[in-house]
Symmetry: C2
Subunit: 247 residues, 2 copies
């Protein structure tokens, strides 16, 4: 009997997980999902995501797929899975897709949001969901840096090591900063693909500009240098949300 | 040397605490604060809050006071305390007040908010901060019930046992429901004082009306009966926020 290909759209709060990918120690999102699906489908499954999220990183719309011999209706799988999952992971949508669909290789682009709480007072309710920066940031300068990223670039300066030797050229379709309520800043970055820690490395460097430690020409010099050692520190994981994957 | 009277305004995420009040087992907000203040003030202190919050209940503006012989400036106390506190408790404001000020007895009123997530899908990011109800609630009917509460009433029907024999008459200044984004409902209740579990018992009963299990005349009958056994179940703690205490 041929296997069905199943696509899932997930939201999860990554706070208490050791990231997406299954590993020997520490609970992961992938493992949590695979264990429950195995119970429902009565067979082991391997889930492939659009990309791994790191420990502490969240998703509003992560996409993944798996293949199964089970004939269960997708609504039955969805309801069963959500009943078994812990309350920090939710399967928003489950559907059957053509055999060729691959969550990672079929992806045309992704949208990430990075939240910064920019005010004197910390907020107990956002402690796992934003990077708290007390010093008032120059958001106009940050917006200027971000707009420089739009287009196709070699983004080696914003790639963490350990990411293999994949092509470092990516096309950024959108890179902007918006102001929410009560000091919340949202950095939105949409691209055809992302290098390891790319959003967090970009945000860390753009924040340097917001603090006045580097100017626009220095930011441009970092971008064109293609040298990770020049960029700012990596922003912490808890502000990062994978919003959407586009196919 | 005379003791100073210090007032604090706090926000805290109550998720991982066994409520406000110091107790033998389990971490509490009071204990967490008293231990840090003792380090800063170099003397033991007893903190008195406007009222206790239960396990899992949150505060945006809890008020408390304590007396101390310390001469430290209030800004020094605030900065030291916030540096030592875990990130789910924050001292928003610390000020010196007249000797007569008492966080509980001087309070003229309080405002509570109760958050309900009323939609099919659960939200991993609100799991500790709203009551998830899947069935669509009739909010017009809920608003009608709430408006019936405005004024001065014997609220025994909404008081949990174990609250002693204090006078059950309270004046409710505001009782209404508002709609936020993405299925979030906010019940706001402001009164000169609250009986034990009063907001949660009211919300539990108003939700019964929203589900069509009781109508407006039944709600009125429950209110005037002054009998806790008639009211609905107590709403769970995680939706409740103490917003403000008025003096």
């Amino acid at each position: 009997m041929s296997q069905r290909n199943i696509k899932m759209i997930l939201s999860y709060d990554g706070s208490r997980y050791h990231g997406w990918q299954r590993q020997k120690t520490g609970e992961t999102i992938q493992q949590s999902l695979e264990e429950r699906l195995r119970m429902i489908l009565q067979e082991p499954v391997t889930i492939i995501a659009s990309g791994r999220t790191d420990a502490g990183v969240h998703a509003l719309g992560q996409v993944c797929h798996f293949r199964t011999s089970s004939r269960l209706a997708v609504d039955v799988i969805r309801n069963g899975l959500n009943a078994l999952l812990p309350d920090d992971i939710f399967a928003r949508d489950i559907s059957e897709v053509e055999a060729e669909f691959h969550a990672r290789y079929s992806a045309k682009g992704k949208l990430y949001e990075y939240r910064i709480l920019n005010r004197e007072d910390r907020d107990p309710f956002q402690r796992h969901h934003a990077w708290h920066i007390r010093t008032l940031l120059n958001t106009a300068e940050m917006a200027n840096c971000l707009s420089m990223l739009a287009g196709t670039h070699d983004l080696s300066s914003f790639r963490s090591s350990g990411s293999g030797n994949t092509n470092p050229v990516r096309t950024i379709r959108r890179a902007e900063i918006g102001r929410g309520e009560a000091g919340l800043l949202r950095v939105m970055i949409e691209a055809d693909g992302f290098l390891r820690h790319m959003v967090r490395n970009i945000v860390g460097t753009v924040v340097e500009a917001g603090l006045g430690r580097i100017d626009l020409s220095k930011f441009e010099a970092i971008l064109v240098a293609r040298d990770r050692r020049l960029a700012g520190l990596k922003a912490p994981p808890q502000g990062l949300f994978l919003v959407e994957v586009r196919y």
